[in-house]
């Protein structure tokens, strides 16, 4: 028997010594995609599921995904959060098919098998048969047929899930330094301001790389330069976890006025374009520092964003080799007043599927996906900042964090 059929993707050999070159095949190969599902998404990785504040009451649930696997997250009668694979133990139908809601128990619509909010099988319709005929036999053990439970951690209100017992606790997974940068931004109870969904015509990894690629920011997103948003007075850098898997890219302003609201005068340097209305660039320094942009990735597919006062968590869901979906959950703080709500509305013009400084991320991956087909055995190169995977102080002109991603990918995939 062909072993490649049993264990797809194992024939793949990483073609170079290090991770400063990446073969195009990784974006186009179905076997590698299938292997990713099994050993990466269902391997030793933490995946964002939802926010604690989205399911505040007992019985509240939300549907989500880890890779291709449908997951349901629910708060039980004790107030504890549980996550299960959203698949009936019987015929495998979704037990939950509405995106969110409140329930007393899970009841599969197909044959009405019921589960409690911890995933335990509580009822099998006609389990005793009808008039002594049919039904379950004695060998059937209810306790062996619950919903498959997912290990979770509640990280500052972000519910993270992992299939694997091997995954280290979240704080050691990303390391103390990157844990501190989550704590820097998410300092108060959160509230949801809305959701966006964006379909990328490209393999999921191209969007992950894009987030870790601080080199492209002012080059692709011309809005920054055209309207003078990125200024020489700003400094920044890259932080990397020890593993290289996770990163933080940040910029900060060095000078601010006396008040805690820095109203930037946005003027173009070269071509005379300027914003007529600069409200969306106003920045209330609510986090106690001068950081203007903070993009943090958690391997494999979570992004935590602070752009001025635009806070969000982004969850990337692979949708086959050639497509992926990005779910943006737009956040504010529970204590925000109506002025702050309005300011967050304004600044959110910068981000999302129609965002002035983010929309290009929607198309650039598709451009690579199309061009990859020219020759999938050729390689992209990641030369900026050398070959190492190391933090960068002062400069963001580096592909260090992208190389770190590929280190993580290879380690998970065993290639």
């Amino acid at each position: 028997m062909d072993t490649a059929q049993i264990d797809p993707g194992t024939n793949f050999v990483w073609p170079s010594e290090d991770v400063s070159q990446v073969p195009f095949r990784v974006y186009t190969d179905q076997d590698l995609y299938d292997r990713e599902q099994r050993v990466l998404f269902q391997g030793p990785t933490w995946n964002f599921l939802c926010l604690d504040c989205e399911i505040p009451e007992p019985g509240d649930y939300k549907m989500t995904y880890i890779g291709d696997a449908p997951i349901v997250v629910v708060r039980d009668e004790n107030g504890d959060i549980n996550a299960m694979v959203n698949r009936c133990a019987h015929k495998g139908s979704l037990v939950c098919y509405k995106p969110r809601g409140n329930i007393k128990e899970f009841a599969c619509i197909y044959h009405n098998w019921t589960y409690d909010l911890r995933g335990k099988l509580t009822g099998v319709a006609f389990g005793r048969g009808v008039r002594g005929q049919g039904g379950l036999t004695e060998e059937f053990k209810h306790e062996e047929h619950g919903l498959e439970r997912i290990r979770i951690e509640n990280v500052r209100g972000f519910i993270m899930g992992t299939f694997s017992d091997e995954t280290p606790p979240f704080a050691s997974y990303i390391g103390a330094e990157l844990m501190a940068s989550i704590d820097r931004v998410f300092i108060k109870p959160l509230k949801i301001l809305g959701y966006h969904s964006q379909i990328f015509p490209n393999n999921w990894k191209l969007y992950v790389e894009n987030n870790k690629d601080s080199y492209h920011a002012s080059l692709l997103h011309v809005f920054h330069n055209t309207f003078g948003v990125v200024r020489p007075t700003m400094t920044g850098g890259i932080k990397l976890s020890e593993s290289g898997w996770h990163h933080l890219s940040y910029t900060q302003r060095e000078e601010i006025g006396d008040d805690n609201i820095a109203k930037e005068k946005v003027r173009s340097k070269q071509n005379g374009y300027r914003l007529e209305d600069t409200r969306m660039m106003e920045h209330v320094l609510e986090l106690g520092d001068k950081v203007t942009n903070s993009i943090q990735t958690v391997f494999p597919t979570m992004v935590l964003q602070q752009i001025l006062n635009a806070l969000a968590v982004r969850q990337l869901i692979p949708k086959g080799v050639n497509e992926s979906e990005l779910i943006w959950t737009i956040l504010g703080f529970e204590e925000d007043d109506s002025d702050m709500d309005e300011l967050r509305m304004q600044v959110n013009n910068l981000v999302g599927p129609a965002g002035f400084i983010s929309m290009e991320d929607g198309c650039v991956g598709g451009f690579i996906q199309t061009a990859a087909k020219a020759n999938v055995d050729a390689q992209t190169i990641l030369p900026m900042g050398g070959r190492k995977i190391e933090p960068s102080q002062g400069s963001r002109v580096t592909e260090s964090a992208v190389r770190g991603f590929w280190k993580g990918w290879r380690e998970c995939m065993g290639v």
Partner: protein
């Protein structure tokens, strides 16, 4: 009961709003986007939201313009800064309903679809949903005081740059 006089007044208003909608969508579909802001009052508000957020009472928009400056900024960014594969829209608008015409601000709703055709000629149904508009008369012309585009199609394919 609607009298004939009521009906005539209503018909006349409907035709005027219908003309506003037609002029508006042709302005966008013909890429005369620099004129887009003229369809709004100086303090006009424009939002593109998803039905999901709208139904959940969540405020954030995909595009939010508040006042003429922001309308102009959207278009100057689209022309001078944002990068995307060239494409055009074709709007289909139907089922205009007047929700309230008792005061100077007339509230209406209508359904729409937008097809998007890319530079290579491939077309998709890109957006669909309804608009809820507040229309008012300024110097004899009807303008949008508020226009909320509510998308049933909440998954945005690739990116949204041209307003709907």
């Amino acid at each position: 009961m609607t009298t004939k006089t009521d009906f005539d007044r209503d018909l006349s208003l409907r035709l005027r709003i219908d003309a506003l909608l037609a002029n508006y969508i042709h302005c966008i579909d013909e890429d005369r986007l620099e004129e887009w802001h003229n369809y709004f009052t100086d303090d006009g508000r424009y939002k593109v939201v998803t039905r999901e957020n709208y139904d959940l009472g969540l405020p954030v928009a995909l595009i939010y313009c508040d006042g003429r400056g922001m309308f102009k900024d959207r278009i100057s960014a689209l022309r001078n800064a944002n990068i995307y594969e060239p494409h055009v829209y074709c709007h289909m608008v139907s089922a205009l309903k007047i929700l309230d015409s008792s005061g100077p601000n007339i509230k209406t709703q209508s359904n729409f679809t937008v097809t998007r055709t890319m530079s290579e000629g491939n077309m998709m149904t890109f957006l669909c949903g309804k608009t809820i508009d507040t229309v008012t008369e300024i110097d004899g012309d009807l303008k949008f005081k508020e226009r909320t585009v509510i998308l049933d199609s909440r998954r945005i394919d690739t990116l949204l740059v041209i307003p709907a």
